[in-house]
């Protein structure tokens, strides 16, 4: 069954994901298994901090992970409407209200520590959306070593290793 969702625009194709992983996989063989869509809430704030008498504007884009329930600032990204198999779309339990609170907390925390000052940034929510990030799931196999899987961010090409599983299939 297919479903239409709003996703982060994909810039990395399946072949590119495989090549990226293969370039670091040594004597493992990298093979793309499928594309997964990971759920986030996205909030875009227009903020400003006042230093002495000068007001300085800045933008903060914050993604809140709906499965792990944690927030992080992110670069701005393009969005697109995609049609995907429901079985490849992951769902999270976090509500929009909870996510907003986490985003606000994170923006203030990040602002204080990155600017190294106790300044409360004035925030105005400009835009928000429930978005999905496309990840390529890539399996790395070896005839004599335990295989493992890697996810490749379909927007940026960054990767992260998944937990090694003895009976990976």
């Amino acid at each position: 069954m297919k479903q239409t969702i709003t996703a982060v625009k994909q810039h990395i194709s399946s072949q590119q994901a495989a090549l990226l992983v293969q370039s670091a996989a040594g004597d493992f063989v990298a093979q793309v298994q499928k594309k997964i869509y990971y759920p986030y809430f996205w909030f875009y704030f227009r903020c400003s901090v006042k230093i002495l008498k000068w007001e300085h504007p800045m933008r903060v884009s914050c993604l809140v992970d709906r499965i792990n329930k944690e927030a992080a600032t992110s670069s701005l990204f393009e969005r697109e409407e995609v049609e995907a198999d429901t079985e490849n779309i992951l769902e999270g339990e976090l509500s929009r209200e909870e996510a907003y609170k986490m985003a606000e907390t994170y923006v203030v925390h990040a602002s204080i520590h990155k600017m190294r000052s106790i300044l409360y940034p004035k925030q105005q929510l400009v835009e928000e959306a429930a978005v999905y990030k496309p990840f390529w799931l890539v399996k790395c196999s070896h005839p004599r070593k335990t295989s493992f899987r890697v996810i490749v961010d379909g927007g940026t090409g960054k990767l992260q290793i998944l937990k090694i599983q003895e009976d990976d299939s």
Binding site: F28, M58, V60, S117, L119, Q160
Partner: protein
Amino acid sequence: MGNPVVILFLILYYVVVVGIGFWAIKRGAAQDLEGFLLGGRKIGPLVTAMTLQATSMSGYMFLGGGSAGYTTGYWSIWYAAGDIGGGVVNLSIIGRRMRKLSKMMGSLTSIEYLEHRYPHPATRLVSGILTVFFLFFYVLAQFIAGGKGMALVTGLPYWLALLVALGIILIYTYMGGYFAVAYTDFFQSIVMLIGIVWIFSACLSYLGGFTAANQAIAEIDPTYLSVWGKDLGYKGQWGEVAGAVLIFSVGYMGWPHVVVRHMAMDDPHTARTAGLYSTIWNLFFVTSPYLIGIFAILILPDLADPELAIFTVAGELLPAAVTGIVMAAIMAAIMSTADSILLQTGTVASRDIYQRFFNKKATEKQMVRVSRILILVIGLIGYIVALVQPPGVFAIVVFTTSVLGSAFLPAYVCAVWWRKANTPGALTSIIGGAAVAFLWKVAGIAAATAVHPMFAGLLVSIILMIVVSLATQGSSPVPEYITKAIDECANVGPIPKGMEEMSEFNLVAAAKGINDKLK
């Protein structure tokens, strides 16, 4: 009255730094938060390392290190020996794993991270209180350093210079901004490096070289050249030596305000390369303040306050304009360290204590207010103590590091390396280690036993962590979700090194989520 040329260049330096900061922020305005501070650029590992070092260099280096060299001679080099590799040791042992585990657990602060790993409210309460209390002493050292430095440079009476320094630190902390951009940190680190190298070179030139200097020191008192210190005061005291080396080699792993940096790491490659640059920096830089202090024995034989050895040597040997710039860079280093510590203290107090235990519904604005109030209180109490009974910068930093390192080192290390480290083990380790290190110094046991408080405290906290964790495995097992997270952070197995290097820490949470959903 201070030298007007020195004061002029000191003021000019701050104007330039604020100007750079203002320009960078204007350039980065209306960009995202990272761009706001970096002027829209990404900084590489070299600049990362330099900015880290700029914030790490503090009053301890420029006053404490100099005074240790002046009063104890080559004994002080034991502290430098530990410091050279401390950053890399810290990064290698817990850096990557802590970054991953903190991401998986959604921890914002290093104290919250401890509670997530050792789940119990007492973990957070005890750790939070200890951190706030002892970081106060570390900040106090910066206040004293700033006050003394300002008094020497400007000629103001100590009470007024202290007030000015404190005022600048508080303004810095409240408004940061212009001082917080990567460009200003990088600029300051370059000035500090040039300044220290210049002072060091000027000393060698004045004294006729390293060998001539050591020979001259030997004529005054040959025991200055001994690693057992003046009058061979520490001869055979391996417990003191061990503690002196441990403090800045492994002690960093027990500092909540230092390990929190691992939680902000981008990727292992940048962190590792930045760590390498930091070590190279330390090789050249970290011994210099102690050596300048030792050389000051010859240049300034009747120095009333050994803590002003480096400042006074700079004033004697460098041109006035250069002295002004170097003094300003040193003062900026002191203030940026004080600012970093105050920020961490404010965050711990507002988030880990106030919000966690007193007002769960506290808004971000309320927590910022709590941080500001606490910082003002710290400033006020710190001013009074620094004025009435100022302890030595060296003594206070070593004391604080000993207690914090003894308290938290086993907890942070075992959090990522030992699956059996449980809550009772961590709590007894933190409390026991802190108590022993504290009492060892305050009750004079260190002097009686010739064992450094750091060594004693760390030994006790390690033993408690192991014994209590093993004894309570049945009654307080480590939750399965935590042991699984530790295993994932370890990532032992056949993962090629290149793959590890390319891993993006910001995707750790997504990887965990996908793992859980795919089961």
